[in-house]
Amino acid sequence: MIQFLNLLINGVIEGLVVALPALAMTLVMGVNRFPNAATGDLMTTGAYTAVILQALGVSSLLGATVLAALGTAIISVISYELIFKKLARQPMIASLLAAIGLGFLLRSVISFFAGHDQRNFKLPLVRAWNFDGVRILPSDLNIAAAALVCLLLVFFLLYKTSFGRQLRAVSDNPDLARASGIRARSLMIGLWLLVGMISAIGGVLLGMKAVVMPELGWDHLIPAFAAMVLGGIGSPVGAVLGALIMCVAQELSVPLLGPSYKLVLSFGVLALVLLIRPSGLMGRTELVR
């Protein structure tokens, strides 16, 4: 029972963090209609920017994260303007391949200059709280809280601002949205800035939880995609739910399969969802078949 609780807690914490790239992917999927396979490497970019800034002397972790988020957001927008906007009229596989290529490019630049060694954020050493065997690291709680705050801000943006309303309208029905005169250009730029920011923050949080290495984001690409599919494409709530369910499932599988099989499990979840209920928990079938 205690082990179950420990795994559950860890799963929820990780789920909140993975919810960020899953959300980023579902937003792009809903609006631009392709899976942004560069999401993982945008996370890595954010993580490395923050960890290097910290190493260079930026004392505030929050400050480093903000700068990393901004930097990654700019890269994200540039990628839209130079690449994905131009590929919008072509079949989706073109955008997908270009996204893979972008991911490779980002990762290669990072590994060329920063090497392949693992890096760590400078965090104060903490001791785990222990409640009769149920262990919680305060730093993990901070990470979870940060992820939650970030998610709440994004949801506020999506559901309480006109920007978010327009975004969801375009996602639900692009033709209708076009007809009603929603300003596409600024909407897209806003979207891709947002996507870059939340990916970067997700990357920083993952880096804080474990280590920062070039494969950080890529290793979470399939889980984020699986979370998105599980939750239902185009559904922000679904992305968060999907991430939580999936990460909890991943953690619970550890006693059976060991920690290294987490990614295999996420693939298994993906395959299962696609076979049984492709629309996911909250999505619409038309987008899958």
Binding site: M92, I100, G101, H116, S260, Y261, V264, V288
Partner: protein, 294 residues
């Protein structure tokens, strides 16, 4: 010197087999397979493990091809209901799952330590002659596969596969069920990749999981797009271009001072990434050639 070119030739032909397999899946039938390396790995490990256990190479190669082909069955079934980008990510996930499994099941695969001492094909002829003989064998085999692909493309089945690739729902509205055919082609392409993997394992004589990263899948994609997908000429030409790229990058390292081997890997990764971006932007015909008979 000749030995060097023979080696290049052998690797080119291995990539050519991979490209021909992908060409059947994507060039002809528009099945987006981002998991080629999985079948490559299954073929490599199957043949290597069997051969190391004393099984004759002919048998081990056949087993490698068959096993890789059958491993494609569940993925093929998945492909039936999926839109291309979902299939792409699902196959990508599959290839990573295969790689991790190979890495973890050390009792079988020796994990990250890898499998050394894989017997070479034609080992009895001595090292240099063995490579020459292998090159000739591969050349003949690749020519055979290329010929078979062309015949397939021009046959009624090929016509059907092209129709599936063009507009599957329209074909279904005409009373045809593409299921069987898509699965068959998926398995055929996977089997070819497995065969290529077996040749690869027995050529370099040492395999480990890090040789089977998704990067290999995208090498093949890059080559196919540059050469022009949908035609056998394109697939073969792409394999040649790919080899020039891979070998060329090796030489560049010798010319640029201060670049380590590790950094060279990053440069190569960057080049592949850039190539994928540029090709999708500026050579859409590489992905979507219209009429294709050869």
């Amino acid at each position: 010197m000749i030995a060097y070119f023979v080696a290049i030739g052998i690797v080119s032909l291995i990539y050519a087999l991979l490209a021909l397999g992908l060409n059947l899946q994507f060039g002809l039938t528009r099945l987006v397979n981002f998991g080629i390396v999985a079948f490559f790995a299954i073929g490599a490990y199957t043949s290597a493990l069997l051969a190391l256990a004393g099984v004759p190479l002919l048998i081990s190669f056949i087993c490698a091809t068959l096993l890789a082909g059958f491993a494609a069955l569940p993925i093929g079934l998945l492909s039936l209901r999926l839109r291309e980008d979902y299939l792409a990510i699902a196959t990508l996930g599959f290839s990573e799952a295969v790689r991790i499994t190979i890495q973890q099941e050390e009792w079988l695969t020796k994990g990250v330590q890898g499998l050394p001492g894989i017997p070479k094909v034609f080992a009895s002829l001595g090292t240099s002659q063995a490579d020459n003989a292998l090159f000739v064998l591969l050349l003949a085999l690749t020519a055979l596969v290329a010929w078979g692909t062309v015949r397939l493309t021009r046959s009624p089945l090929g016509r059907l596969l092209r129709a599936i690739g063009d507009d599957e729902p329209a074909l279904m509205a005409l009373g045809k069920n593409p299921t069987k055919f898509k699965v068959q082609i998926f398995m055929l392409g996977a089997g070819l990749a497995g065969l290529a993997g077996a040749f690869y394992a027995h050529f370099i004589t040492f395999i480990s999981p890090e040789q089977f990263l998704p990067l290999v899948t995208f090498y093949v994609w890059m080559g196919l797009i540059m050469g022009g997908s949908g035609t056998v000429r394109g697939a073969l030409g792409g394999a040649v271009l790919l080899m020039i790229f891979l070998e060329g990058s090796r030489f560049i390292k010798d010319w640029i001072p201060g670049v380590s081997e590790v950094q060279m890997a990053s440069v190569r990764l960057a080049a592949v990434g850039l190539a994928l971006i540029l090709v999708t932007l500026y050579r859409p015909n590489g992905l979507f050639s219209g009429n294709s008979k050869t």
